[in-house]
């Protein structure tokens, strides 16, 4: 029930920048997400890994929208993986999945 603190670790997998997110993607995630994204802003591709995330709310979606907007300006490709079924549905409903590649579990493993 307690809010789980958000963290974003920057990793590299086969030369691709990965933001490994954990905790709640909500209002409290803003600074940490910006900080981590700052490290990968010049990369051609960024993968958001949601595997350790089990709560995303509308404020969290707004943060991802903000991140996507920045990426579009610089022509950066954003991918997402590790999304629970429920949040994949939400990414579809909000059309976030039209602007980022949602990697299925099989493809990301």
């Amino acid at each position: 029930m307690e809010a789980t603190e958000f963290a974003a670790a920057v990793r590299r997998e086969d030369g691709v920048a990965v933001l490994a997110l954990s905790g709640d993607v909500s209002a409290g995630a803003e600074n940490e997400l910006q900080r981590a994204y700052g490290e990968v802003v010049t990369e051609p591709v960024v993968v958001l890994d949601f595997a350790a995330v089990d709560y995303i709310n509308s404020t969290g979606i707004a943060l991802i929208v903000g991140l996507l907007a920045q990426a579009r300006k610089s022509g950066q490709e954003v991918r997402a993986r590790g999304l629970a079924q429920h949040y994949r549905e939400i990414f579809r409903i909000t059309r976030l999945s039209d602007f980022m590649t949602i990697l299925d579990e099989e493809e990301t493993e």
Binding site: M1, E2, S58, I61, A62, A69, E89, I93, R95
Partner: protein, 536 residues
Amino acid sequence: MSAWPQSIARVIRRTERPTATEAAPVETAAQPLEHRDVRPIEISPNDPIVAYFQSAPGAVDLDDLELESPALEALREAGVKLAVPLVSQGELVGLLNLGPRLSDQDYSTDDRKLLDSLAAQAAPALQVAQLVRRQEAEARSRERIEQELRVATTIQQNFLPRELPDLPGWDVSAYYRPAREVGGDFYDFIELPGGQIGIVIGDVTDKGVPAAMVMAATRSVLRASAQRVVSPGEVLGRVNDLMCPDMPAKMFVTCLYGVLEPATGRFTFANAGHNLPYVRTGDGSAELRATGMPLGLLPEIAYEETEAQLEPGQTMLLHSDGVAEAHGPTAEMFGFPRLQDVVGARSGRGEVIDRVLTELGRFTGAEWEQEDDITLVALTRHGAAPVARARGLDIAFQVASEPGNEKEVSERVAEAVAPLELPPARLEQLKTAVAEAAMNAIEHGNESRAELPVDVSVRAFDGELVVAITDHGGGREIPEAEEPDLEAKLEGLQKPRGWGLFLIQNMVDDVRVSSDESTHTIELVLRLEGGGNGSD
């Protein structure tokens, strides 16, 4: 004219017509009376002299008259010698009575002619004057009745509450409409220590000023007693003992008095012969039962005390006879069962008082003249707005308006609906919708003021799961939510935020929003498959 008689008797004639029992005294004085000892003479309507005078061609010598008539005796005793009947339109309207001539001579033919022509002119004038006087008396009596009605109305209205109490978590409404001939209805709210509130409804068995006075007295005694003792039964007992000695004959007061604890919905009440309140529950309506003698009949009566629990979403209606005893065009009575049905109607939307008045209007028709005062007092406990058939699932809780508490709300709702065994995806959708709605309530409705609670109720009924989330953001405009457009947001044309309501709407089957002066409620509805028992 100098020959005018000195002694003149006033004659009062009583007729059969009721209006003329206000005797029409006929003063025939043309000069000051010197002998004041002359008393009025009453002529009974069945005295034979009446018929005689009515048909007499002119002045009548009483000395020559032979009639078995008490009036004749009286006239003679008063010294009347000559009586000149004043007849107008065949009706004897008065008499001109003359004593002996001062000169001790008999009245001459000229005298009689003069008197006859005088009578012929005086009679119609007198009749007109009598008519005018009668009409004036009738108008005065009508005006007196109207005035009395105004006084009664004024007393009544001065003793009804000017404003309704502000009970956190409750909607309170009251309606009072006096009949033309004001009855003795009253209602009252009494603030008590500890946030409790005393609720009174009563009816004095009479109308007009007497009823209004007794109503005012009852109200004052009740207010004073309620401040001294808490127990409603004891309060009514005291009021009864105080009222008994001074109660006018054939009058009494029916009264229901209860104490409501707004925080818990506990309603403790006692009843002195008043109509039983109805409670709109999940599956219709129930009667709150308590019996006792009306106030003012017998001293030292013990009043039974009953406790009821008003749940979130339930409405209690207190009412006076004016509704149930209203008659329709076919003389049928509206009746208590019909009133109870209106209160409990499943399809009933809107405020219960409005619904009762609408039904009553439909029943009585447009031509109806209200027979008795109508008083209605309704109290609704906030919570799940539609009163639902709770089928084993009816849970309510509160959280403080602190950031992050939306997750707690979401988890607790998930626990609450566990017995419904929702499919996992549905449960996730519900949790997201609940968290978003709770976040709106905390941040927008309650403006993150921790001391303001967010009320949550979870109910399953009739194949629907309803989660109601209530904040204190009522009474203000809710800005129209902009449909989020992702492309516009990515282009910076819309702010990145604004997904809350959009998410909610996409997560549940229905969203119902309602507001009042102080609160705002959003209801999230999931249709349950398999008739709402969650067995899908």
